[in-house]
């Protein structure tokens, strides 16, 4: 086996936006540190399993394909998530399966044809220097490694296990994305009509959507309570409604606090689908499990 120190990937072309991602930064939200981390956890952890890595190794998150890498040593890679043509040199290889690269070979992702973000795992994991316990690029605060640029060299760890077979590899599905959500904590700041609108509208993803938030267009949600909300902590998947009434869904690079009411929170299981939303895509919310009924008794008088 090759020594760990010589294993690395060279970035020939980064594509529109490729970042290093792992599970993200945890336990530092009280210091204003966003969680960051991969947007589609199922796809990213699958890519790691396919190359024989523990699930938490850092991978590359590639928006819309266009990534070209080369290697000086033999490595195993796998691509999951958004469906893109995958090539070793000019030879097409499988998406969602372990692929062996020889020394000097290049590896490329074509344009994504289905979904938005592909995940590239490499045997041994991407071993850039961790910051606050994570190798993730945080596009909001700038923590972690920068976005990939042409010429960048990414250290790769020693191979950790045997590649797994590629059974049960899921692909992003077509059609309007339905996001199940729980109402609250600030659903009572909105009119009953606004809550009905939230559950019945087909929203359209806006072009300024990114790793921080999916921004949506549709009928504005009307507030019942016009007060200014003092800043409060935000969770992943929070559906926040800024002054213009158009909801946004916070993703992994979300700020830790915000000063607009959060009407609902998207279920964790459905958040991975947000990784594959592109401008013009349609989104619906389905409120489940009435949060109002679960509230602790109001002790204020």
């Amino acid at each position: 086996m090759t020594s760990g120190s010589r294993r690395r990937l060279r970035v020939v072309e980064p594509g529109p936006s490729t970042t290093v991602q792992d599970r993200g930064r945890h336990g530092c939200a009280h210091l204003g540190v966003p969680r960051s981390g991969w947007l589609d956890a199922a796809a990213a952890t699958l890519a790691n399993r396919l190359v024989g890595n523990p699930e938490d190794c850092a991978v590359l998150e590639c928006l819309l394909g266009g990534l070209v890498l080369s290697t000086d040593t033999a490595l195993t890679v796998a691509v999951t998530g958004a469906d893109t043509p995958v090539r070793v040199g000019s030879r097409p290889v499988a998406h969602g399966a372990a692929v062996s690269l020889g020394a000097g070979q290049s590896f490329s992702l074509g344009r994504a044809v289905h979904g938005a973000r592909s995940y590239v795992a490499v045997s041994g994991g991407v071993r850039v220097e961790p910051v606050l316990g994570s190798r993730s690029t945080d596009t909001l605060s700038g923590l972690g490694p920068p976005r990939l640029v042409a010429g960048a060299v990414l250290p790769v760890g020693p191979a950790l296990g045997l590649p797994a077979d590629s059974s049960a590899v899921g692909r992003p599905q077509a059609g309007p994305v339905v996001l199940r959500c729980r109402l609250g904590p600030r659903d009572d700041w909105f009119t009953a009509e606004a809550l009905a609108t939230l559950g019945s509208t087909v929203y359209v993803v806006q072009p300024d959507s990114d790793r921080v938030a999916i921004r949506l267009d549709g009928p504005p949600l009307v507030r019942a309570d016009p007060r200014e909300l003092p800043s409060e902590g935000l969770v992943l998947g929070a559906v926040q409604v800024p002054a213009d009434g158009l909801p946004l869904v916070f993703l992994n690079d979300h700020p830790t606090t915000g000063g607009y009411p959060v009407v609902a929170v998207v279920d964790e299981e459905d958040l991975g689908r947000c990784a594959h939303l592109l401008p013009g895509d349609q989104v619906r919310f389905t409120p489940v499990g009435g949060a109002r009924g679960e509230r602790a008794p109001d002790r204020s008088r």
């Binding site: 902590g233 830790t256 279920d267 949060a291």
Partner: protein, 221 residues
Amino acid sequence: MSGPEPRRHLRGARRPVQRVVPVGERALLAEVGSVEDATAVYVAVRALDLEVAEVVPAARTVLFDGVADREQLSRLLLGLDLPVAGVPPTPAAGTVVEVPTRYDGADLPDVAEAWDMTLAEVVRTHTETAFVVAFCGFAPGFAYCTGLPPERAVPRLDTPRPRVPAGSVGLAGEFTGVYPTASPGGWRLVGRTDLTLWDPSASEPAVLAPGTQVRFVAVER
């Protein structure tokens, strides 16, 4: 200070958490009546060994995310006793962080006008105030420090500056903050410090973490 009169419970104690609201599948939001209570609840619960991934204090709330048992935590929060109002929150550590500050900020004259004071009186008021970090936000290590009375609140700039240098000391609303890194910003700048406030490679990356006591000390250079 601001906020409703706390409900008396035990002699010398009161329960600051007014309501606990579920957030999504795994989080709880505890509502309190004032920013001082938010800090106090945060400091009190950090001392307990809770099965919670994140505890995020803010202006009138404390968020608990990644909660193992929401029912149990909700009961604990609603029953939490704190000393009576007026007693400053227990600091996370007994030490006071001193922030050496050159009071030469571009907005110092505006603050003096808002406070109806001379520049020297502004500096004296600010350096004589015992601050506590209530919460962090906006950027990693950016601390919202409380301690100034409500009548000293100043509005943010109408148009934020595109770049505020690291170490800038600013006022906004009831808060004083120090920019840990250069960023855009709308706080009214009163001075600048050379103290390094944010070092992600350190074991304690933020010098001004929630609950920390802070004093600003005037220096010439």
